[in-house]
Structure formats: C-alpha cells, structure tokens
Amino acid sequence: MTNSLNKVIPLKQAIEQYVKNGSHISIGGFTINRNPMAAVYEIIRQKISDLHLYAHSNGTGLDELIGAGCISKLEIAYAGNGKAAPTCIRFARAIQNNEILFEDYSNYMMSLRFTAGAMGVPFLPTLSGFGSDILTKWGFSKSMRRSDPKIVDDKLTVIDNPFGNWTGASKVVLVPAINPDITIIHVQKADATGTCSMQGLAFADIEQVKASKHVIVTCEQLVTKEELRQNPDLNQIPFIHVSAVCHVPLGAYPTAVFGHYDYDSQYLRKFAIAAKNSDKFKNYQNKYIYGAKDHEAFLEIIGQKRIDTITADPRTGYSVNMKRD
C-alpha cells in the first residue's frame, strides 16, 4: 500500500487482516530488543498456525510463537533470549522433538536475504560460510522445495567469481532473496500514514519491511506527520512500504525499546523457567497470553510497578542500575 492515507487500525484487526494460516512472516528486533511482542501475543491469541518464519536473531518473539505452536517452518540464524536463555528453550525443544521444519543460515546471510528481497534482486553475494555445514546441510529437502513455489529451489549456491580474482575472491556464495507475505515491526515513532522513525540500532528491520508484501507497524508513539517531517533524516521507513499502523504503547514488552524501556529480565527468566516444563508452560500461557484479551489487559497483569522499574532513563535510553536477573 503506497498511499499516504490514514492507516491506523486496531492491532487485533491488523493481525486478522494480514496474518493468515500458512503466511510467510518475519518480525523485527533482535533477541531481547524491539520484538513486536504485542503483535506476537495477538497472533497466539488468534491461534494462527502453520506460519513460515524468517528470522536472523529473533529471540523472545520467536520462542513465544514456537511455544504456542504457531510455527511449522523456520529459516533462522540464531535463537537466543539473552542471559535468560542463551538458546531459546521452546525452539530447542521443538527441534529436538521434530515438531518443526527448520533450516540454518548465518546472521549476515539472513540479513542479505532480506536485503535482496528489498532490492528486488533474486540473490546477493557473500564470502561467508565456505566449508561450513550451513552450505551443505539443508533443512528443507529438494523435493519439498520443488513442490512449494513459495520456497526457493536451492538453499544457496556457490559460483566462481565471474570477474576473475577481482577483490581477491575466487568464489562467492549466493544467498536467495526473501519476500515475506507480512513483516511486523515495533518502532518508537510512526505517523498515521506509516512513516517510521526508529531510535538506536535498526537491526535488519528496514530490509525486512522493504522486502515484504505487507507490513504492520506497531509504535510506542503515534505522532503527527508534521513532527516526523521536521527530521526526514531520522525516518528510516517512508509510508509507501507500510500497510497498517497500530498504536501500541509498551508493544515490545518484555523486550527493550531504546529511549522508552528496558527488557524485563525478570519476566524473561520467568518465561525461561516455565518454558522448560510443559505444565508450567501451559500455566504461563493461560495466565499471561490467553488470560488477557489484549495487550492492555496483559500489561495490567504485569502491573505498573514492574513497568516503572524498566522505564528508560532519558539520558542513556535504558534503565540505569536496574536489577538484572
């Protein structure tokens, strides 16, 4: 959707409209930072299933989606949840129990694949991974690839440098483009048309957005067009890439949003402990996800006291001297 009309809709409606069973999806952020958690919890509440997730280093959002059974296929570089879970627990379990199909890449490869999608080219080259099992061990079989037009026929390929030894490279790895059906990111500021301003590291959010057929933006602050136009240099995503805008304060909680709030290490630890045990995990989900009708209700369960603890110091952008579990 390229137009500059008002795209603000409720999160529930945005998820209903753009995230379908079987959708190929990507979510923004990195491990414990700026995951679009309100959207993730809404996907879980709506019991959307059979999602194909493309991830570089998703953490918290990824593990919740896998834990809730929303994901059937996963292309990924890294699944970790900070100190609370150096390897995402439900992720590891789902793989060990053969519950999902998965395929491994490196962070740069996944970032390049989104970049290729954003650029509109079929692949990008890298010198990463020669000799590694990332090149040789494919998670999706040839026959499965051939039978599914939404999955590229080859995981990746190696070619000789067509420019001789130019730049000293004899060979290059080509990684194929990703164009998700839908990407969801959470940003600090957006206006009603979808122009976004992120503060701090952008991770691969910009490339993920530009590669996607549809994009949902959730934002801490829904600001006027005029406010964003005063600093066009700070707006990494112009409205032409965005389908829907949802105003969701604390929409990345329990992950961090630079300048707004820190990650909640206590919540992440609680999640990690629950994730190790099926019954405990069901209780966790019933209480925090299914037990809340929406993100506001979820935040009420968390409580203002906890939110105050993680609120960012305006000087540093994070919660100074916060007790971190």
Binding site: Q96, Y108, L127, L201, Y318, N321
Partner: protein, 258 residues
C-alpha cells in the same frame, strides 16, 4: 598439591584473551566473558582498541555491562548506530576487516579450530540443539584473528564436530584457502587450562601456554584429539596490575567474573 592461585580461572582466561588484543584493533565482541576481555584490553594494554557489535554499534561507552549484543546499553554514546548489514560489511570488507579481532564461544571445537554452535547429534534430529550460527560463521569467514573461549573438556575438544558452524582451518593445510576463504578463523583458543594456537602450515592446534598449576598432560587428558604440546611453556600469570584493573575498573560488581 598446589597453593591456591590468587586469581580465578575466569580471571586468567579474561587476561589471556585481553593480551591478544592490540592497540588499534577493532574488537568484535559478544557478551559475557568476551565483553569483559574486550574491556580489560581497553583498560590495560590496548587503550585505542574499539569495541564493536554485529548489531551495528561501534565504540559504545558501556557505562553498564550489556547482557546481549542487542542490549540497549550498547546504543548509548556509540560513534554510530547502524544495522546488521553494515556491521558485517565492515568485517567482510578487507580494508576494515583486517583490523578486526573477534571473540567467540562454541559448544565444540576440533583440531583445526572449526566451531560448532548448532547442535549435538544429527542436524535434522539432534540430541541437543543450540542457538545456531548467529554472526559466528560470518566472522570466522571474514576476519584474520579470532579468539575462541572454551571450557577445556573432552566432549568439547572433539575429533569430529557434529556440525561445522564456523570455519577455522577446515581440514588443515591450504584447505581454508581452497574452499574460498581468506586467511583467518580461530587463531587462538583460551580455556580454563591453557592457550592453544595453530600451526601456520598444517593448521593443526598446538599447545602454546599452560597455566600455573596445570600440566600439558592434564590438557591432553581433556582433549579428544592429539595435540602437539612440545612447544608449550608456562603462561605468565596475570599481573597484579592486570588483576586490579580487571576487578576494580572492568567488573567491580563481578557481574561476569562470578
């Protein structure tokens, strides 16, 4: 049998790694002990080294220790906040990449410095699944020097990796170059027992230093593959100055040291 060392295994590991970092180096850092080693180098022997994260922050102030490479603490007072693609390009580009030294961890390492951070058992149906490559495979492919931090155990120093995530010298000799990689990969392994390096010609790991109180034999007992220990010498233990700076300036709250 031995008097108690005036430092912990973590402390000597951190100092041994810090000593590998030279002034002017760009230090690709993860979190935990690798972050501490980078900070120790900056405070002790390489004040003009630059800490750098795959998420895109460079030369962050780090008033507080970050707990992840996406921790908001690395975004404050950085020289620049960019993106993953920028960070990896900085390493893939040999102009800047040649200045980078990386600090990596792994579940398994083999005699050629190849690393496994993916799984134990069969890839498709593993006994234990780990987080995966992250930027590890990229860094090990691109930069000339990498420090691997490992606990020295037989199940971690293995003859054959269950999955080769990050390339070292592959099968030794010139196999790394033949595969298409630049010189680089893991160049030094720092464990709780000693410091290992790799033979320039064969690419095989050898014991360079063993710590006070540790013998080459003990190291071999904890290593599944054969390793040349003939060149090994006793490591210079951490100096008082090194330990003081590490304890008082780098991690006064002992968030990582404990």
């Amino acid at each position: 049998m031995k008097t108690i060392q005036p430092y912990t295994p973590r402390e000597i590991m951190t100092i041994m790694a810090a000593r590998e970092i030279k002034n002017g180096d760009i230090v690709f850092s993860g979190t935990g002990i690798s972050m501490l080693a980078a900070m120790a180098a900056k405070n002790i022997n390489a004040p003009d080294s630059v800490i750098f994260f795959e998420t895109g922050a460079i030369d962050s102030l780090l008033e507080e220790l970050p707990f992840a490479v996406a921790d908001p603490r690395i975004m404050y007072w950085a020289a620049a906040n960019s993106r993953l693609t920028d960070a990896f390009a900085t390493m893939q580009n040999p102009i800047t990449g040649k200045k980078v030294i990386a600090i990596l961890g792994a579940a398994q390492i083999d005699r050629y410095g190849n690393l496994n951070t993916t799984c134990i058992g069969d890839y498709h149906s593993p006994e234990i699944r780990f987080s995966g490559s992250g930027g590890g495979c990229d860094v090990a492919s691109f930069v000339p020097r990498c420090i691997a931090f490992m606990q020295h155990e037989k199940r971690k120093f293995v003859k054959k990796l269950d999955y080769l995530t990050s390339p070292g010298q592959l099968e030794g000799n010139n196999s790394r170059q033949k595969a298409g990689l630049r010189p680089g990969g893991v160049s030094v392994v720092v464990t709780n027992l000693g410091v290992m390096r790799f033979d320039k010609d064969t690419g095989k790991m050898y014991l360079d230093k063993f710590y006070p109180g540790i013998t080459p034999e003990k190291i071999l007992e904890n290593t599944e593959f054969n390793m040349d220990v003939s060149k090994a010498t006793l490591a210079d233990p951490p100096t008082k100055t090194e330990l003081t700076i590490l304890r008082e300036e780098c991690d006064p709250q002992r968030l990582i040291l404990d």
